[in-house]
Amino acid sequence: MVGRLPALLKDSALTALVAGALGLFIVGFRTTDLGKGLFFDYQFVDLGIAVVTIFFGRLGLHLASMGLKWPAFALGTALGAVGASPLRLPSTFLHWFVVIAGVLIILRTIWPWANAALATARHSQRGKAFGQRGAKWFGAILLIAAVLLPFSPFSNQKNMDLAVLILTYVMLGWGLNIVVGLAGLLDLGYVAFYAVGAYSYALLSTQYGLSFWTVLPLAGMFAATFGLLLGFPVLRLRGDYLAIVTMGFGEIIRLVLLNWVDLSNGPAGIGGIPGPTFFGAVFAETAPAGKQTFAQMMNIPFSSNQRLIYLYYIILLLALVTNFFTQRIRRLPVGRAWEALREDETACKALGINPTNTKLTAFAVGAMFAGFAGSFFAAKQRFISPESFTFIESAIILSIVVLGGMGSQIGVVLAAVLLIGLPEWFRDLGAYRMIVFGLAMVLIMVFRPRGLIAHREPSVRLHPVRAGP
């Protein structure tokens, strides 16, 4: 092993050299405007630190891949400690950079070992039983935490806002999971149904004065109808072709909303959308004529948090309904037919299953939940415009489903927290947060190619699982 050390050092030095050469002009020089013209600002210290980090990082990864656990571990810890220390590096980013380098080395070191341990655990009878009970308990704990969140010390405005946002994506993820995870139909235009739901509520409430709870089922129905509309032409398509057409459908809906000004008010959007009411009571400081506020109804002092907490419980309820529905329908013939269709459409046909109807129900049911979520979104934002329904939204929802593990309900929650929560929490990092976002996605796909939770629980068992002897 020691004999290979010079080669390792040489390779690490070479990597550092390449990084230095690349970084020289990107990081090393910066033009600053001093009023009298542009001047160079030199950042050679930053560059130097980065190059040294890259040298040790490369070395650490080499050591780890050679199985030299302890030296690699020590190097990783050292880097992490330097990055996290109060030592004054020139920028916060460099601190993060060094810390991440250390963490990566440590992860790389323990990965093979952790992987082997996990694999043995997963295949033992006891491990299987534990995994199942664990998933159940984990779900229950998450649920209790979610219900109690507004009463916890963390329930400030920022966190509650974020929680509502995450839950919206959890619900969308669960809805799309029906289409993509269960039925195996790759849908890149899911946001279209979200838009249909949002505009249904926005238009019906501002034009006809209908309340949120009246429109909610209607919005679901409208979105489901659009799901059927999309379903019909794409029934014959599979895989990539289906993805392209659904993506086109998503864009069509957005462009129609953008250009049909008479209906949707075009790019200016629709504002002044009323929020959801609580048995007729509104969430505002003063109630409009003939109505009362929630605070008056409950006889408590008004607080702007009440509205947010109410919204939080609505979306929690909607998300749980989605989850309950999905869990239930998976165990029904139509749910099994969706999964069978994903596995082998030809075999389904041979068994007398109507693939057309089965696919259409999957599209319609998935769209319905997007419609619910959309009308919640409109009620929460109080202003919507086509800007909110771009392709990137569909891509994020799909990423949540894929990264979570197709068909896994808990996986969707984890992925939504990771993909929506992280960028928000790391807002201080500024532009770098998108790098973190990308890094998180890449890491998940490298280490868990089938998603965070790839386990598929059978919809029915003949032999109940027992714990080991």
Partner: protein, 272 residues
Amino acid sequence: MSAANPQPLIEVEHLTMRFGGLVAVDDVSFRAGPRAITAIIGPNGAGKTTVFNCITGFYKPTVGRLTLRGDREYLLERMLGHEVGQKARVARTFQNIRLFPGMTVLENLLVAQHNKLMRASGMSIFGLLGLQRYRTAEAAAIDKARSWLERIQLLADADRPAGELPYGAQRRLEIARAMCSDPQLLCLDEPAAGLNPRESAELNDLLVSIRDVDGIGVLLIEHDMTVVMRISNHIVVLDYGRKIAEGAPDEVRNDPAVIRAYLGTAEDGPDA
């Protein structure tokens, strides 16, 4: 045998299937009786699987009539792909196994009972509400699956993903899945392919019991002559899309046209 039978289970009349200029099946007629195993044999490319695909609704025949006489009369050539399985209840297996590999063995057998369960679940509404009517139907479906798993010796593997099973077990499971769809006619496309002699013998027993115990008519494509000759009641021989012989196993075995098709003749040259 079935030619003498006044009421055949399936009657194929003048079946022709053309793909552009290629005539895959050329004016083939035969009958297959109920409670009988009818084998379709022939060299590779003789059009056997094409006949199957026409019967099971995967192809629409260019010419011909396919009549199934079960609980009532069905004209198969007029039905949409999945209706042949749904209404006429013709079940099939595939030359290359087509299970639902990610789903468990039990789930595979439940998917096969989709249409019955779908009715019981009232288009999913009763099922979503968890009504007794659906729960009884599901329990009955699981019982049926269990009895089939016992018959094919896969009871212990019920909760394993079907794709993890060994090859021979997957073959048996595919037959059980087809049988769970409650068929009037069972079409098996080379069920013995890739099986060892012991598994092949077990398959014989299974097919004979499907004929004699369940009373289901079986249509069989097979290359393994030990299977074909031992269990078939009636054999149809195809070559280049045409029917060249038909009859009981002994007649077919000694038919000069069949021997010529399989072994070639002196005039055909050494490459035949």
